[in-house]
């Protein structure tokens, strides 16, 4: 077996990067063929994969092939072929300088800083790259954009900027973090990984009301993402539950589709002055009606979806709204469930406690953005915390923190 291992891939492909890093870290030589630059190689990959150009496709000296292998599968193969020692188990787990959990504004900003300083950085994202910012229609208060910026556009730019310096975003989830002293072990959907430092920037998820009908009609009349599902309610009537900034902002967004919106507020409107004065125009135009002191009781529908929401008003009287759909924006729950057995300290609401260096009670594990106790839940501050965390991580890696 004098022949080399051949890796077919492309420069933009994160899994290719991962496999190459694995081989590099184990000092295993291979030929790299970029299929974007070699049409014959692209054809070969397509032939191997029944017409799909699935990469990385790796051909081994014995002519066996692995397509998109996990690092575990790759290491097993290398052991079988006697290219790698089986007792190399510890180092067979991929190691990175930093692993960031989440790829929202906080982690993407942190990744711009770390990768720009050549700190090898891997991000895990289980949902949308760009986090909650990506699912927000228009962001009016992020600095640098005179007329605001669309969430998707901001997310795309942040991601492009981080990738330009070499950040790699893996589409997958981190399930747990374990402190092993100098190394942190992360259990992920791509197998176990080791990191010298970890940044937790997992933000939060939408809270549910918990009323009957909410789960049953999920995505069939009950929604949590206006930019995703609003278009299905052209000329329809909607209820929006909530009274904070998100509820008001999203109600305004939904008026571009819906004929009318009942904004159901549990106590009183808590949205900012700016949003409230904007809301007034829509109220005056008859597009939005605000109902304060209203508690949702049940979401009712049939096979065609939702048709009403039953509520109780301030006097405990039942009030029914005939609507075609409900959007829920009643706040957020921190994404820290996966940290249960990690020993990382959380506050009473489940946000991560940090010191002034944004470091948690575990050395080498940092937190930034919405998931951090004391965060101000804004994109600009999430980005700022990401930058701070990255600089502190560098100090930590250099043994200066």
């Amino acid at each position: 077996m004098s022949q080399q291992i051949v890796v077919y891939g492309a420069s933009w492909c994160p899994d290719c990067h991962r496999s190459r890093t694995f081989l590099d870290e184990h000092h295993i030589s291979y030929d790299w063929i970029d299929i974007d630059e070699d049409p014959a190689a692209a054809d070969k990959v397509a032939q191997i994969n029944h017409g799909n150009k699935t990469i990385p496709t790796i051909i081994f000296p014995d002519d066996s092939i692995l397509v998109e292998p996990s690092d575990k599968a790759l290491s097993e193969k290398l052991v079988t072929l006697n290219i790698m020692q089986p007792d190399n188990k510890q180092s067979a787990v991929v190691t990175h300088d930093v692993i960031m959990v989440g790829a929202g504004p906080a982690a993407l900003t942190a990744a711009i800083y770390t990768t720009r300083e050549d700190i090898d950085t891997l991000l895990f994202e289980k949902g949308v790259i760009g986090g909650l910012a990506a699912v927000t229609d228009l962001i009016d208060n992020y600095p640098g954009f005179t007329n605001g910026v669309h969430g998707l556009e901001l997310a795309d730019s942040l991601r492009g900027q981080a990738e330009r310096f070499g950040a790699v975003i893996e589409l997958g989830e981190v399930m747990s973090i374990k402190d092993e002293g100098k190394m942190k072990r992360l259990e992920t959907t791509s197998g176990d990984m080791l990191a010298r430092a970890v940044l937790i920037a997992t933000g939060s998820d939408y809270k549910k009301t918990g009323v009957p009908g909410e789960a049953e009609y999920y995505a069939r009349g009950v929604h949590y993402c206006a930019t995703c599902d609003g278009a299905f309610y052209r000329d329809k009537k909607l209820a929006v539950i909530g009274g904070g900034n998100s509820a008001v902002q999203e109600s305004i967004f939904l008026t571009r589709f819906a004929s009318h919106i009942d904004l159901l507020v549990r106590s009183t409107l808590k949205a900012s002055e700016v949003l409230r004065s904007e809301l007034k125009q829509y109220v005056a135009a008859g597009k939005i009606t605000v109902h304060e002191g209203v508690k949702p009781k049940e979401i009712v529908g049939d096979d065609n979806g939702v048709n009403k929401i039953i509520t109780t008003d301030a006097n405990d009287k039942e009030v029914v709204y005939d609507i075609d759909g409900v959007f829920v924006f009643i706040g957020l729950l921190p994404n820290t469930g996966f940290l249960k057995s990690s020993g990382i300290e959380l506050d009473a609401v489940g946000l991560i406690k940090t010191d002034q260096n944004l470091e948690t009670n575990i050395k080498g594990v940092f937190a930034a953005g919405d998931v951090r106790s004391g965060a101000t839940m804004q994109i600009a501050s999430a980005a700022g915390e990401g930058a701070t965390a990255a600089l502190k991580i560098r100090e930590y890696l250099e043994g200066k923190l």
């Binding site: 790259i129 990506a134 997958g172 599902d229 278009a231 299905f232 052209r234």
Partner: protein
């Protein structure tokens, strides 16, 4: 084996972008139906998925059977296209 893939999307939907990003990264081709540009096809997306949401990804196999994935859900998308 996959014959073709159609994704119903809208302009503002971030999860639609993720399905496209994922398929592109895997070198898998797809057709896109943008419901902002083709609002009359909303009914089609609804009747295929039973849901009022995008993305709806329709994976048609070579035997013409169809798998329909609602939302950006890698645990369903990955097996459907492999």
């Amino acid at each position: 084996m996959v014959k073709n893939i159609t994704i119903f999307t809208t302009n503002t939907c971030a999860y639609c972008q993720m399905v496209k990003t994922y398929l592109r990264a895997k070198g898998v081709g797809y057709d896109e139906v943008n419901l902002d540009e083709n609002p009359h096809r909303r009914i089609e997306a609804h009747s295929l998925s039973g849901a009022l949401t995008v993305p709806v990804t329709v994976v048609t196999k070579t035997d013409d059977s169809q798998e329909i994935i609602v939302g950006y859900n890698l645990s369903k998308l990955v097996p459907a296209i492999s």
